[in-house]
Subunit: 457 residues, 2 copies
């Protein structure tokens, strides 16, 4: 019998940081470890090379009439920096209270330990369970999944045979209230680079003769929002789908007040586009944000220069049915149109992905042609969560982006069932990352029940 | 007989970089060298301590009825970085062609060698020349003269006895065409620091709920210019004095075309406030420029963060009769008024100074009460330059700022006669700084003639 706590602890010990070439061995170790576990459970394991870190593709086949689920996860983790902020070393997992501490415990090795534990138990109890499972574990999620698109294109026919995707790479508010994530915002953007004079100039000798590229940049950036807070790009809202009433109703049950949220952010007031509360805006509304800006002299004190160059990094979070490529082109076109004469403008583009949303069964806007296997999976998940966590899940879209989910939908047509197993306490991407052992235990029970409920019978 | 070329070469050998504490010895060496030269010429030399680098105050007294000139200069120099861009070492002066190369050769040790050489000759020829001279050589000019204001306050009664100030710390277009600088722009500004959320936030999870401080900064900065290029701060232009017709006429003789200037800047078109050509705007018009901006993620690639903070560095070049303190308060008041709710705004203030202008004798707008000694000095300078350089000087305001000139006027009432001895070829503040030996020679002749013409009798 596989012990999920021990398994997770062993898995976390491999420092599988995808962003840093120094951790190549740690990535290989984590990959081999996951392959070993899957083989032990009974999977046929392949390791698919990519340009960077290989993808694990593991299958438990069976009758083609059986339900077929793809389970997605990633074996890579965020860098552990700043190291001195960790109470105990990042790759030396320890239990304190009812939590296991270490980089990757929550994102995403803990949820995989849940999945491995549940599958081991289910197939041990019933080796002939009528269920096909394909595991897909990538090693580049934390650096934006650069190889995943090519992988999808190459393997789409094979993946398309499945009925849906199951994953736990999203969040819930606390260990009592689980969220089934019904949508993710898309992401696109660009870096804008402006050049004014050929070199930095003395602002006394030349000030007044030419347009300062920082001024041009500020005027361009300022033009991208209307006074009411809406994004001021013609056509930006054309494809925005309003949230359904049931979605607003679900959000109203979310255990956080606007006052709590304001305090958490540390702002004296919200700033949202019209028609959304702050809690709605971050899930249902699109945005345009400036992630960085720079130009000229940034050191201590003063240097009276007119800089030659200035730049800004812009990203937009998109909601259904906005398309990443369309919106990025609108932004580019708008900026080119508004760029003042005398300034040279260049763009470097950012990877991104379109938004994603799925409507669970039983809602007014559930698609009539929804896959019956997906519908059964949602019902089975709802029942399992309600039983194992003691409370019915909430169905909510999330503000963040997992671009591969939209890519999978686009390439294979498959929808995703996303069960949120992180909580804010887990410190994802930060020092002292941890995973709740209660969620680990309840998660294994939930996944086991869900998989059994899903199996053909 | 003092050899100005040898003197300059010896003076430049002391690395008197005021910005860097590592050069303390070089500053002391240059200071002692200058004191030694002045004593040899016959000056009574005092070294006045300041908070940082002492000021040299040297006097050649005489009858109180004699004309009394203060000659200003500075013994400190800019840092020599980047060192690898120098053809020969910065503090190892060498002659190539008709130029002496080394840090400080032009700014400001060359002009001082001119002054020392001329004074030595004049007093050697006529030990009883009826002329009082006070030398004022500071060691903090390249770091904004932080001790000069206090020095002025302490010594104002003594300095006030003089008739005017004479200096060469401004520029001319080439060694044939000397400019007498009739005005300098003032300088003031501030750094604006904005804080939005208490910490950097994930732009997916929280984007849409709050105002991004980079957005707030861009909107504030964009509000500071009107579409026609004028500065959009109420009251900013109230005290701007239009240039006199004779000033525009002088500028029309300046040996540079607008086309040349555009090519020099490397811009496809100018951007000036209405009513000025580009060449006029940099001398006669006030400006507001962004010297630096920063916030959020500035590294390679993308980081989808809503930053907690953003800042911009703003300076304004002022023209007569704008007052530095008044304009800085207008800017502050405007920014506070326009700052959106939910954003915390803080300022750190920059030192600065008010603009300065003097009208030479013989113009429609020459003050009726102009000092006859100053008038004689201008006439004497005009004749000396015309004879020694072969061409009449141009009388022009300059776009840069020498804040101490305005301070001297404010504290002592004294005007300044500024003879431009730099040329663009000199590479001020840059590698391979040099000074023309032709200007050095003609400069000594000019100063000697000017001082003799100025003397009573």
């Amino acid at each position: 019998m596989l012990d999920p706590v021990q398994l997770l602890s062993d898995y976390v010990r491999f420092p599988s940081v995808s962003a840093d070439p120094a951790f190549r061995e740690g990535l290989a170790g984590a990959r081999q470890f996951a392959c070993g576990v899957l083989e032990k459970i009974g999977f046929k394991v392949e390791v698919i090379p990519t340009g960077l870190h290989p993808i694990i593709l593991a299958e438990r086949g069976g009758d083609h009439a059986w339900p077929h689920v793809i389970i997605y996860g990633h074996y890579d983790v965020q860098p552990p920096d700043p190291l001195d902020k960790w109470t105990t070393p990042a790759f030396d997992p320890v239990i304190r209270g009812r939590r296991l501490y270490g980089r990757g415990t929550a994102d995403n090795k803990g949820p995989q330990a849940v999945q491995f534990g549940a599958l081991a138990r289910v197939f041990e109890e019933n080796p002939n369970l009528p269920l096909r499972v394909t595991f897909l574990i990538e090693g580049e999620e934390e650096i934006g999944s650069p190889s995943f698109g090519d992988f999808l294109k190459k393997h789409r026919e094979r993946l398309r045979e499945a009925n849906f995707v199951l994953l736990s790479d999203t969040g819930s508010p606390n260990p009592e209230q689980i969220v089934i994530t019904t949508g993710l915002r898309g992401l696109t953007g660009l870096e804008i680079n402006l050049t004014g004079p050929r070199t930095d100039l003395h602002s006394g000798i030349h000030g007044g003769a030419l347009l300062n590229p920082i001024q041009a940049l500020c005027e361009l950036c300022a033009s991208l929002h209307a006074p009411d807070g809406r994004v001021n790009i013609p056509g930006f809202y054309d494809d925005v789908r309003e949230p359904a009433q049931w979605e607003r109703d679900e959000l109203a049950k979310y255990p956080r007040t606007l006052e709590d949220y304001k305090q958490f952010l540390g702002v004296s007031q919200f700033y949202t586009a019209p028609g959304y509360t702050a809690l709605e805006a971050v899930r249902f509304g699109p945005t345009l944000d400036f992630n960085g800006i720079g130009g000229g002299y940034q050191g201590e004190g003063s240097k009276t220069v007119i800089p030659s160059k200035a730049f800004a990094k812009i990203t937009m979070r998109l909601v259904p049915d906005q398309k990443a490529e369309v919106i990025r082109e609108l932004l580019e076109k708008t900026l080119r149109h508004r760029c003042p004469p005398g300034i040279k403008m260049e763009f470097s583009l950012k990877e991104g992905g379109s938004p994603y949303a799925v409507v669970p069964p039983g809602h007014p806007n559930t698609p009539a042609d929804q896959s019956p296997v997906l519908a059964r999976a949602f019902q089975s998940a709802d029942a399992a969560i309600t039983e194992c966590f003691g409370r019915k899940p909430l169905y909510l879209r999330e503000g963040g982006s997992v671009p591969i989910i939209g890519q999978i939908k686009q390439q294979t047509g498959l929808d995703s069932l996303m069960i949120g197993l992180f909580t804010p306490e887990d410190n994802l991407h930060a020092p002292d990352e941890s995973f709740s052992l209660d969620i680990l235990e309840r998660g294994v029970n939930t996944y086991a029940k869900l998989l059994k409920g899903l199996a053909a019978g």
